[in-house]
Every structure is written in structure tokens, then in C-alpha cells.
Symmetry: C2
Subunit: 210 residues, 2 copies
């Protein structure tokens, strides 16, 4: 199945600006993208990076600088259905969870992200179109139901954790084992345990410069 | 299967103190507990509330005021294995995800919570004991592996979202449909959409007084 992965190589992950420089955010976003691409390929599917600019990966890249929803809807219209859309900031995805997502038989399959977003979806009917924004999940449910399409929901922690904010980095350090996790450790990030949730800290002397 | 649900009726959910009074936290924690108990019962399993004080629910209640790990280990030692432990602050759990958890064949089954915790587990071998604290998940993995036990991991958003902090309430409003979600709406909580993750706000005139 074609899996479209939207990606912004220019100014990604702005909400990490407090803990990473602009160049670091670009480098870290690319590490997360590569983890996602590996998971898709190892699940036996075919990724296409839908990028706002040039990007250095071995997968197919389509460049489209329109707003996210327009670009994704155009990519879905060009693809043979079924097709999937998977966000690039999901470094915890594994081939197993990509297979769970893609093997659901429903006409539309949605996986929620933390904070109301839609981190992954599968489309089997051209009547479904995407509308990405802050709280897109409930709108995607509505779009599917209004079109009379059957709806499946994938209940996955690994698909729910998109890395947007510093607190999300702890999930990558705890449960990741790919390039993004390695990037964080080399950049001096580590976990700090307390009574409540584990937090992330960054040392002042990272092993590498970005 | 016996499912132990630890619960503190006295001073629960202290990290919600900024948005709820002490009495409200007690009332909201009880609403979440009831959602968890309904999901367990509807999955065909038998919940036991392991409480630090008296609690008004229709399920079995065992009172034990020792620290959490001691109390849970005693409850597991008393139970016929396999047995499960499910946290009381998981109002998004459904019967389907309880069944996914309990049907895994491994000797130890773990479900991660946000921030490194262990939100649910199943034990099929008495050599496994629990050790709850901030970052318990990786310690539970280690305890199982050191005892030579087979380990299963359940990848579930609904099990990962424990409600500890104000940001977690948005997940309940977006994806819950039980007593906890109803409690929040009646108390004046609602979602506020922005460009990033959806946030929660509270009106100054809730529909009910607690």
C-alpha cells in the first residue's frame, strides 16, 4: 500500500525551539522521518515523502508547497486506493503497528494523536478527504460518517505519540530504538526520574555538534 | 480473570489541584474508577478495588493502606494467577482493550503509560513482582527478563493515557464516553482548539457544584 508521509524540512518542530536550535530541529525531524520510513518499508508497504522542500532520504519524494490538507488530498487523489497517510513525527512506530493500521478492512481507518490530532489514516474510498488542523480527529470521524463510509479506529500508543513538545521526547528515550532515540542521546538528552512522570533533561556538553 | 484496581479515595490526583478542589478531585477520581470497573466487567473479568480507604462502588473492595507496590504484591499473591493490575485513572479503557490485554499469552504482559509508568499488566507466573514508581515500565521489563519470563507488550493509546495532569483531561473530553467525560462536562470543562494540540478550559459557571 502507498503510504504518504508529509514532511516539512524547512522549519519543522517549532514547539521544540526551547530545547533545540533551528538546525537541530531540522536534523532531529529528519531522524524521526527516517524511523517512520524504515517501519513502513519493513511492514512491506511503499512510502512516499510529501515534502515542502528538498529532503535527503532514499524513499520517493514528491514536492508540494501547498498547505498540508491540499497537498495530502492531491497525493491521495493521485494514489491507487487503498492508501495511507502517516505523520513524519512518529518515531515510535514499528512495522507491527503499520501492519495493524493497514490491515483494518474499513473504508476509513483513523489513529488518534495526543491532543486531538490524526496521526495516521487509511483511505479505501475516494469520497473521504482530509482536513488537518489542531483537532482534526473528530472532524475526520465526521467526514467519514457523513460520506456514509465504514470507520475503523486503531488504538495504539505508538501511533498516538507525535513528537511536538519537549515532554514528548521522554517517550522516545523510553520506548524508541531507532535513529531519533539515538539522535537525542547523542545530543545530550536523557531521562530524569521523579515521583510523577519521567521528564527529559539535556546536558550542556552533548557528544556531537549539529 | 481477577483484575486488581488500586485506588486512593483520600487525596487522589494531586497534580489536578490547579484546576479542581480537593472534593472535586475525589469525585472525579471516583468517576474514572467507575469507568474502569465497567470496562473490566463488560470484558467478562472480575475487578477488585484495592483501596487505601473506604470507597463507594458495587465491585469487591479490599482495603490496604500499605504503599502501592506492597499492597499490589500482596493482592497478586492472594489471587489465582493469571491476574491483572489496571490503574484506576484510565477512563478511556474499553472492554475491547481489556480483552486485548488479558488475552495475550505471555507470562508477563505490560502496557506503558505516558511518562514511563506501567498502566496495566498481567501476571501468569508468581516470580514476577511489581515495583511502582515514576518510571516503573523499564523496571518491570527488567524484573520479568531477570526472572526468565516471557514478556508481552500491549500497544494501546487507551491504556497509555492515565489522567494525572490538566493536559490529560483533553483526551477524556475528546475520546471518552463514560462517567469521567460526563463529570468533566458538567463541571464546566471543555475543549479549546488552536493551531497545535487541543487544550482544555474550564468555565467559571459549572452546571453542578461538588
Amino acid at each position: 500500500m502507498r503510504v504518504v508521509v508529509p514532511f516539512d524540512p524547512v522549519n519543522p518542530k517549532t514547539r521544540l525551539s526551547g530545547v533545540m536550535s533551528s538546525g537541530e530541529r531540522q536534523s532531529f525531524a529528519l531522524a524521526m522521518l527516517r524511523d517512520v520510513l524504515v517501519a513502513i518499508e519493513n511492514a512491506g508497504h511503499a512510502p512516499t515523502v510529501l515534502a515542502t522542500g528538498s529532503v535527503d532520504v532514499s524513499a520517493d519524494v514528491v514536492t508540494d508547497d501547498r498547505p498540508l490538507s491540499d497537498a495530502v488530498n492531491a497525493a491521495l487523489a493521485d494514489a491507487d486506493l487503498p492508501a495511507a497517510v502517516l505523520m513524519a513525527d512518529l518515531p515510535l512506530v514499528t512495522p507491527a503497528v503499520v501492519q495493524r493500521l493497514c490491515s483494518r478492512p474499513d473504508e476509513v481507518v483513523l489513529a488518534p494523536g495526543l491532543g486531538g490530532g490524526t496521526n495516521a489514516l487509511v483511505v479505501r474510498d475516494p469520497r473521504f478527504t482530509v482536513d488537518y488542523h489542531g483537532g482534526s480527529y473528530s472532524d475526520h470521524v465526521e467526514i467519514a460518517l457523513e460520506a456514509g463510509l465504514s470507520l475503523g479506529r486503531v488504538d495504539s500508543y505508538r501511533l498516538a505519540v507525535d513528537v511536538d513538545e519537549p515532554d514528548d521526547l521522554v517517550e522516545v528515550l523510553l520506548h524508541g530504538d531507532g535513529k531519533a532515540e539515538e539522535w537525542l542521546r547523542r545530543a545530550g538528552f536523557s531521562i530524569e526520574r521523579g515521583e510523577g512522570r519521567t521528564r527529559v533533561v539535556r546536558s550542556k556538553t552533548p557528544a556531537i555538534e549539529f
